[in-house]
């Protein structure tokens, strides 16, 4: 509720003769312009020049990681599809053709036009199979072309593996049935030691 005492009435300042002439103000403005003209430039000539980028946490086009044997790392658990706020991921799971794996994605489609690049899929993935790459300038001539299927997403991994290697160790990987406990990753123990530390 606004009380009368909260209201401040402001009157327009009366213009002086110099103000009415406008010229002094024009000169003042030009002074600023010329000052910036000789300063260091902050703009970039975009396609030729590019801004430095933090590749490890840039949220660009998705990729589907491959494991050491070159197979798709995804186990078709649908966690990304569940977490996705834009409903742009569509998976079809099936029985894996490999003896050490239970399930794998027969189809894995991401509608890159519908995606909002929030990175929730990456966070939800229990095997770190889906990741966002620093790749952002993708083009397509049709909407269908922008629905990335499994092959295209695996190809994205090959294209970006040098730039952004698959760094995270598999925490809850499908290696569960090879026996032996899985040691906690370094990130996790650090997090436990110093809770509340801002992550950089």
């Amino acid at each position: 509720m606004i009380r009368d005492s909260d209201i401040v009435f402001v009157d327009e300042p009366r213009l002086t003769a110099a103000d009415r002439l406008y010229l002094p103000q024009v000169v003042m403005g030009l002074k600023t312009t010329f000052r910036h003209l000789f300063k260091k430039k902050v703009t970039l000539q975009y396609p030729e020049e590019k801004r430095p980028m933090r590749v490890e946490n840039y949220r660009g086009v998705h990729r589907l990681n491959k494991d050491e044997k070159g197979r798709v790392a995804c186990v078709a658990c649908f966690m990304c599809e569940t977490a996705c706020p834009a409903h742009c991921i569509h998976i079809e799971g099936g029985e894996a053709p490999w003896p050490d794996r239970e399930k794998y994605p027969i189809k894995f489609d991401i509608d890159e036009l519908r995606c909002i690049y929030c990175g929730m899929c990456e966070e939800a993935c229990p095997v770190d199979a889906i990741e966002l790459t620093p790749e952002f300038s993708i083009v397509g001539l049709s909407r269908e072309e922008m629905v990335f299927d499994k092959e295209k997403l695996l190809e994205m991994f090959d294209r970006t593996r040098e730039l952004k290697p698959r760094k995270n160790p598999v925490i809850t990987g499908y290696e569960y049935n090879t026996g032996g406990p899985i040691p906690p990753s370094d990130d996790q123990t650090e997090g436990l030691k110093a809770p509340g530390q801002p992550q950089r």
């Binding site: 649908f78 239970e102 399930k103 229990p126 809850t172 499908y174 569960y176 049935n177 026996g179």
Partner: protein, 541 residues
């Protein structure tokens, strides 16, 4: 109605039930794996242990017993006092949960049970968030134990529900527990796989992801599924089921508790007999033939077209020249709407009940059970609503004939207009006399799921929707009127039978089973009484 005290609160419960059941019915979340109201009690999972007041041997004073007792094996007794919230009980749950997880793999991402798994739920509610085990987990590969069932032994908690089910309800006893201790596992005898007709129930009974359905395997994560209460259409028993669908695609059927009808179980015939719903050959649009030309009129114009055709026949040949064959696949409401519509145009129209499919013999479970011990019956009558349609026909009265008479009289040319409702899941259900007779009538209107000789001969063809797309009631063999709800939309182009019959009968607005039942109950009071199973306690499984 004894009164017992649980956690200091006095509750009233049914007589002669275990304390666990009483606690669940009172709304308590008591964890349990091995206890199931439909099976014998083994008290092997040790999760439901409670503290109970007993007389001290020396002072005869009522004190908390030093040892925990299984609540599933203790029957309620007037005035007994138990508790589930003491530190000893809570510590026991914690230890037992840890014990269950010693060898359980962390494969929830690929496990089909994830989302409806009681190992997940209980470990979240009563267990620890971490594991202390450092030893390698026992690896136990998956086993193919039956034509429809897979066993993932390393996920099993050995509650023995499946073993007891195979012995006590199915009666065939294919499953057993072999070995002891941490090597114990569920298995079948060599050369004798799990092949009884109720085997799908072991998957429902399994509280974890050890027993899985091959049909549903990897098809969908359960949290995407939406359930709708329905009634099984595979036989006249009328089992209560839940239809699980996501985005108009049916994924599975699950039984619902329905005492006196199917208890907790359904047979595999019903469970897996829904594949025709997504068959691509289905009729999805109405077709009107004028000579050799066919056209698909908009649904809004259809009532007028059908009325014109029927009125023309009635004006030419009289009000007794029309006959209707109602299908036992129709809901009571649809049969009533159709019959009253035809009678409104041709008051002397004959009504007949269509083909009732009888296959084999009545199958009683457990095998070789005498009448008193029968726990489940698969009936030979493979249509859900023979009795309901009969009730509608008898309730309306007038000219009622048998389907043999209908075919014979139509063959002789006594009927000039014939409306045949099909809707049987098998294409080609119609017998030769009916097909021959259908070729001779002037106006043939056929409602069916699949194209066949009848729809080829028909002047007007209307799509018949599968029961999961419709809404209404089925009356089972014992005369219980059970409502079923629509779970999915009909295929594109089709309209629910109830809806177009409602429009045909001259009503406007949305068809609902309740509206039509209210109209029916005015003349047929048996349609005012629905049989709806009682709710299951929230934490019972």
């Amino acid at each position: 109605m004894p009164k017992i005290i649980i956690d200091g609160v006095e509750i009233q419960c049914r007589d002669k039930i275990p304390v666990l059941q009483a606690a669940l019915e009172a709304g308590l979340n008591v964890p349990h794996y091995c206890y199931h109201p439909g099976l014998s009690i083994v008290a092997s999972c040790r999760l439901c242990l409670m503290e109970m007041k007993m007389p001290d041997p020396k002072t005869k004073e009522m004190v908390w017993s030093p040892k925990l007792v299984p609540s599933c094996q203790t029957l309620v007794k007037e005035g007994m006092e138990v508790r589930f919230n003491s530190p000893a009980v809570i510590a026991n749950r914690d230890k037992v949960m840890e014990y269950y997880l010693v060898n359980h793999p962390l494969d929830c991402p690929v496990c089909d049970q994830a989302g409806e798994c009681y190992l997940q739920d209980y470990s979240f509610q009563f267990g620890k968030p971490y594991a202390r085990t450092v030893d390698p987990k026992v690896k136990n590969p998956k086993k193919d134990i039956g034509s429809r069932t897979l066993l993932y032994q390393d996920r099993c908690v050995l509650c023995s529900r499946c073993v007891r089910f195979a012995q006590e309800v199915a009666g065939s006893g294919e499953l057993c527990i072999v070995n002891r201790g941490d090597r114990a596992e569920i298995d079948v005898f060599p050369g004798m796989p799990l092949e009884n007709k109720l085997q799908g129930n072991v998957v429902d009974l399994c509280p974890v992801g050890a027993l899985l359905d091959k049909d549903f395997l990897f098809r969908q994560r359960v949290w995407f599924l939406n359930g709708t209460d329905s009634i099984c259409r595979a036989c006249s028993t009328g089992c209560a089921i839940r239809v699980d669908q996501n985005r108009n695609i049916l994924y599975r059927l699950k039984p619902r508790y329905n005492p006196g009808v199917n208890e907790w179980w359904i047979c595999d015939e019903g469970r897996f007999g829904w594949k025709f719903v997504h068959d691509e050959r289905r009729i999805t649009t109405p077709v009107v033939r004028r000579g050799a030309a066919t056209e698909t009129p908009p649904w809004d114009d259809l009532p007028v077209i059908i009325r014109q055709h029927l009125t023309a026949v009635v004006q030419k040949h009289g009000p007794a020249s029309v006959a209707v064959q109602l299908s036992p696949e129709m809901a009571c409401e649809e049969a009533w709407l159709l019959a009253t519509f035809i009678r409104s145009i041709a008051p002397e129209a004959s009504l007949a009940l269509g083909d009732v499919q009888i296959v084999g013999q009545e199958e009683k479970f457990p095998f070789g059970a005498t009448d008193g011990d029968v726990k489940f019956i698969i009936r030979p009558e493979k249509n859900p609503n023979r009795r309901g349609v009969e009730a509608v026909i008898n309730g309306l009265g007038g000219n009622v004939i048998s389907r043999e008479d209908l075919a014979a009289r139509a063959g002789k040319g006594e009927f000039k207009a014939l409306w045949i409702a099909g809707g049987y899941p098998q294409p080609g259900w119609a017998g030769k006399p009916l097909i021959d007779a259908a070729g001779k009538v002037e106006l043939l209107i056929v409602q069916d799921l699949f194209p066949g000789p009848l729809t080829e001969a028909a002047r007007i063809v209307l799509p018949f929707c599968a029961w999961v797309e419709r809404e209404g009631t089925f009356m089972n063999h014992a005369g219980k009127l059970q409502p079923f709800d629509r779970a999915i939309d009909p295929p594109e182009g089709a309209v629910r039978d109830g809806q177009y019959l409602y429009a045909l009968a001259g009503h406007t607005g949305l068809y609902t089973g309740r509206r039509v039942r209210e109209m029916m109950a005015k003349t047929m009071p048996e349609f005012g009484q629905l049989h709806v199973p009682p709710p299951v306690p929230e934490h019972q499984h």
